[in-house]
């Protein structure tokens, strides 16, 4: 069995009096979609931000390829091959797809000029590889795209740069049925490239459909882990609500 490419081990994160994470652990494996589920306030967001370098943990550690690392900020995480797709997508609506994909990492000519034709070419190639079809010409600002297309651009951008892990925060929350199906297909294609996908969602049927592993967070700690086929919606709900656990609660609180 492969080793986890990204893991958080017994992570504690406190904000004032609020203990958002109480010895939470999490592991993501290359070529697999790991879903992170839990109720509101279970610590999903905080754990995600620890994994993507936004927060540094008070206790515990984050490991990449088994080596403990200290992620100083999101750019540090990016430099180590961990990309995050935020819920608000963080696209610049007036730039075209290539402009967004290469934002902050522009290909340059003569040091200061950008090489837009080459960026556009590489974006088109990457989109084709990922099966992101964009009929609209590559010059159109992404503001003209539909919600699903924007989501696809954001995910494809992460996929182009991620060498190890992509963290996706509720990637289908705002999408219609067909758009959701497209995005899930895209997630699977990225996984099949050997990238570890961390998939945060409230939609349990969707999680069961796409995830190879499911980790359940409750009150700031992991309470259950499932492989594909081990869980159904009822069991997930039981784990989320505290009626089921298959992992020892590491802290009595």
């Amino acid at each position: 069995m492969s080793k986890p490419v990204l893991g958080a081990y017994r992570v504690v994160k406190t904000f004032g009096h609020v203990r958002a994470l109480r010895h939470a652990s999490f592991e993501a494996f290359p070529g697999e979609v790991t879903a992170l589920v839990g109720d509101n306030g279970a610590g999903k967001s905080t754990l995600t931000k620890v994994l993507s370098g936004v927060y540094s943990p008070d206790e515990g550690e984050v490991r990449i390829d088994g080596n403990p690392v200290r992620l100083s900020d999101p750019h540090d995480a990016k430099a180590r091959g961990i990309e995050t797709v935020y819920q608000d997508l963080a696209l610049a609506p007036d730039l075209d797809a290539a402009g967004n994909v290469f934002l902050g990492r522009e290909l340059r000519r003569f040091g200061i000029l950008h090489n837009h034709p080459e960026m556009r070419r590489r974006t088109a190639t990457a989109f084709r590889d990922l099966g992101v079809g964009l009929v609209q010409d590559m010059r159109a600002p992404v503001a003209e795209f539909s919600g699903g297309q924007k989501q696809s651009v954001a995910i494809a951008r992460a996929a182009m740069w991620a060498t190890k892990v992509i963290v996706m925060d509720e990637p289908t929350a705002a999408l219609g049925v067909i758009q959701t199906a497209n995005v899930l297909e895209l997630v699977e294609r990225i996984r099949d490239k050997g990238i570890a996908v961390v998939f945060i969602s409230h939609n349990l049927p969707q999680v069961l459909q796409v995830a190879d592993r499911i980790e359940v967070l409750r009150l700031g700690a992991r309470v259950a882990r499932f492989r594909r086929g081990e869980a159904d919606v009822d069991r997930l709900i039981a784990a989320i609500s505290g009626a089921y656990a298959n992992e020892a609660n590491e802290e009595s609180s």
């Binding site: 609506p93 402009g99 079809g133």
Partner: protein, 353 residues
Amino acid sequence: MTQTKPTADTESQEPVTPSVPFVRALLRNPTMVTFAVLLAIIAAFSILAPDTFTQRSNFTQLAQNVAILTVVSVGTTFVIITAGVDLSIPSGIVLGEVFAVHALKLIGTGGDTTAADVTADQTKAWYILVALAGALLAGLIIGTINGLVVAYLKVPPLLATLGTLGAGLGAALILQNGVNTATYALDPLGHGSWIAAVPNLIPIALVVVVAGFILLHMAVFGRHTFAIGSNPEAARRAGINVERHLLKVYIIGGVSAGFAGFLSVAYFSTTSIGGHSTDNLQAITAVALGGTSLFGGVGSIIGTLIGVWIPAVLKNGFVITGVQPYWQDVAVGLVLIVAVWFDQLRRRTRNRG
């Protein structure tokens, strides 16, 4: 091409902009609208006053008249694309003038109301460079203050630059004791023509336009400027230092105003501490006419160039055809409203996705 499988392709075929290609193209590119307006105005006056309006000398005169406004408008384009605004342009220009003559005074070559000034043929190239350095320093100071206050203190640009507008003009009056200084040291630049009888201000403004075009449309710097105006949070998450970039943009605005002040003192052979008071509004008008969005993220240098010419051509045409030139203000005001309305329409249409 047929689509059988429901991929991302099929959903994109929903029309997201109006289906009439012409309207769609117009909404996509507001610069084309203003360009058409400019061509229509030129065509109308060419018919109404074929002998005078279309003369080469008339266009040369026009180009010279708009040169200074063109320079500041290029800088303002950058500022407005970041969804900011720079009202302090007049203080940048006037302080540029004042610093230029004070720099001349420092090296003892006139620029003083009492001391004997050099004449045009006594001046030397390095006098001009000293005055230029002074003017650019003034612009740098104003721009840096604007940038620091807007980017780091998070004061809304409208008020931050309103503050430096008043403060800068006051400082200029203090430095000048309220009176203007004449100097002829910059005459070879302001009144000469190095290239084929074309007044110097025209090629100088052209160089600024080309530099602005390269920086905005071809350089990574410009790309980041658009991104910040479009979505500062996206720019920040992409690793762009948004604050530092905004500081640079306001410095560009300030330095372009300082440089305009240098050109102004060279052209008019005097400071004009009471003048330029509407240059900020003229520049903003030009930029907005040119299709640059006041909400940020969209704009072009070419559009600004067109936007500078529309009011100038109107005024010139009205004078030549004997219409009261004040109609220019009325016409420009109306065109401006239409241009900004188009911008709004374009945003509303495309943001449906």
